[in-house]
Symmetry: C2
Amino acid sequence: MTEFKENLLNKHFLYPFLNPESICVFGANNEFLSTMGAMQLRNIIFGGFPKNKIFPIHPKLKEIQALKAYENVLELSEIPELALIILRPKIVPQVLEECGQKGIKYAIITSGGFREVGNVDLNKKVAQIAAKYDIRFIGPNCLGVYNSWYRYPEYKDTSLNTMWIYATPERGNISIIAQSGTVASHIFWICREMGVKIGKAVSIGNEDNIDTVDFLDFFRNDPQTSVIGIYIEELKRGREFINLAKKVINEKPIIGIYAGGTEAATRSIRGHTGAIAGNDRIFESVFQDTGIISTISIKDWMYYLRTFSSGIIPHGKRLGIITDSGGCGAMMAKAAEKMGLQVPEFSDDLKLRLKKYVPEVANIDNPLDLTFQFNQYNLYIKIPKLLINSGELDGIILYAVFGFEEVLDIIKSSGGKAYDEFEISNEMMKNIYLKPIQRLIMKKRVPIFYIGPQGYHNPWVREFIKANIPVFELWDMPVKCFNALAKYSEFKKKNLKKNI
Amino acid sequence: MTEFKENLLNKHFLYPFLNPESICVFGANNEFLSTMGAMQLRNIIFGGFPKNKIFPIHPKLKEIQALKAYENVLELSEIPELALIILRPKIVPQVLEECGQKGIKYAIITSGGFREVGNVDLNKKVAQIAAKYDIRFIGPNCLGVYNSWYRYPEYKDTSLNTMWIYATPERGNISIIAQSGTVASHIFWICREMGVKIGKAVSIGNEDNIDTVDFLDFFRNDPQTSVIGIYIEELKRGREFINLAKKVINEKPIIGIYAGGTEAATRSIRGHTGAIAGNDRIFESVFQDTGIISTISIKDWMYYLRTFSSGIIPHGKRLGIITDSGGCGAMMAKAAEKMGLQVPEFSDDLKLRLKKYVPEVANIDNPLDLTFQFNQYNLYIKIPKLLINSGELDGIILYAVFGFEEVLDIIKSSGGKAYDEFEISNEMMKNIYLKPIQRLIMKKRVPIFYIGPQGYHNPWVREFIKANIPVFELWDMPVKCFNALAKYSEFKKKNLKKNI
């Protein structure tokens, strides 16, 4: 144990799964297309894990991906802290037995082919061996873990990724517990695009030894986690889950997907983790009771995670909508009201103060349609500031983010004159627009959502994502995200009252 | 009139708005950041419109964007077919009067500041002048038109874009009628990304002279239009709209957004096009009656447009789900059943035939989780073919599209061996995978939706988009899109019965 590890709050038994000092890998090889294991080992290596602490175990190969391979775990000169097992299910008991003999206490069993295909006996065997040697394990039938904070700050830029998806999201304060490897890792590409910054993700599989409740407890106490995403197919410890979630929710929002509850979904789940999925209504009421923000859409789930990762919880549900175009304002207002949000009329006083920033042909109201507008400073800073300081709104959506560079390039290539005020460096732009926005949001705790229809690949939109300012491509999601925030805020207030 | 124009089916009075032989532009200049007009003229020029047929009119400037400018429309030596007016509202009547004197019969009045801000008298004046000179006009308070098929095939790659958004989507068979410039044009960036291929888009504004019904009639008869997207804030000719939509819907699907119906939305609409929005329920029943596919989400709307543009309408609502990962299968099955779709169990016969393509550790059922799978040919072709030929399914969603190039690059950079079977050119890949898929879909009229979590910017995913094969980033939308298709198919069948 290093000093760092002891100093960290984390004395939790799950800590070594995310931060092992050394790892042995069963089932890795050099056949990238025919086995998952090759890519899983590759990802561990490429995450920056100390190479002299990775031990591939293989009956035949002497070298795997430029690492020395060992025929048997027993011949290692040290005890690896974690074992990663990616073998055919029938071989798993024997290998786990050897891990136990070696003195390994933590294992991730990736292998599928257990109770989800009817092999219940195999599950029992594995459980017995684990009990005998006091081994805790994740899985079987999972992809393991991703930890962007691997032994931070001892290791600055090292991450641990035992999954086979080679893409990784940016590091952040979101942690994921999923009874599905897809949900825990296949989303990583889009996470990077959208700016969903994930710190840790666990694909938890069949939960034969370690379950969602265990990891919920871990993430509750994890200082690097502020928001928790969960994907559930079944709950083995329902009562414990509810009790724990009720406590967690006051400190850290939980965004939940329950995937079961219909006939074909249940059939799918039986074949997936072997679970018996429950009634949809039961889960709906569990989520409602505990205050878990619930969705069955993967995109919503990702957006909610990103939204809550900002840490800004609004005081109420009054939404201000500013656009440079009327149609999206009307659509957002409609969507907001249908969700039970308020889009209040501005007071006469506020309307008067807005007057100087609004063109003659525009109406001053909420939604506020500024029509064609290129005074960026008013748009980004002055108007939001005025609205926030009015105290009449709890959140603001601003539709109008256009990438400067692209617009200026178009103008120049069209023979238009250069505009000095925009011809400043990107760095300056950040100071003029992005930093004041950040300060404003932090100070007043009124979230501002920006929408830029040029899409997430536009360089200016990417600056927003880098600065952790919520930016959207189109106008459906910001309303949904503010609604999720407002509902959570309301839930917390009610909870507070109950407890007084 | 050219010979081509006379030969075309289009003798419709709206034809010249989308295909003018010449155009005069009021309100354009060289100030790109302070006026919309500069960008609108720029877009007309850059679309490839014959330069000697563009006539900027300006009281002072002698040259605008390298084109000769004229002080007054009356001094032109020819009569422009279309006038584009982007001036302050007060000047519009005088300019329209001059257009009338010149003999111009078609105008687009972009200018805002009419009834939507209470200037009802101005509307009347404009209407009187138009009546006097027999001028038909789009607007006021609009962005005009986009036509990617501008006088095709006479002009091969020329488009007409009178809007100020400079991005354009790829050319396709989708046409849009919108009482909002945002909906008609701001979506163009994301359309390009998603592969929503738009042929024509009209921002129709206040509809003082030409309305949604007119354009619905036009697109009904337009051979370049197969799907129609509409965005409605109000309907002035409700009865005519319903009667016409009922006829159109049997030939061309209509995807509709109604933006009014709530308090703040109505307030927003009043300030936007000056319309009085109706009750939400009325519109819901109008959409239901006519068979218009309805949504209030801009993203759904775009996806539905793309989906219907393929022209493949399924026979029923039985959905097959194939994945290489269980979690997304369960989520899709749940979403499908909640929407009223069927995810039927496969027959024993079909299960037997699937067996040889499915790994030992996987369950054979619907959803079908293939687990880790790199046999691309089975995945892309063999399995979908088997499912389609079974006659047990009306649509298939296949989650597993991974960009070859990216995966191979990762493998190579990780020291993995080269895989000859994948080391073939992109061109070959298209012939091996994409063309057979296309043939299969066209032959059996069973839509296949592919999902590739690497996102729309991945080169392999872009090949799907280029080939018009529906591909998605994540797994919410394919289910929704199949649902829209199934509902439309059901509606058409019922309609057919009614009419027998």
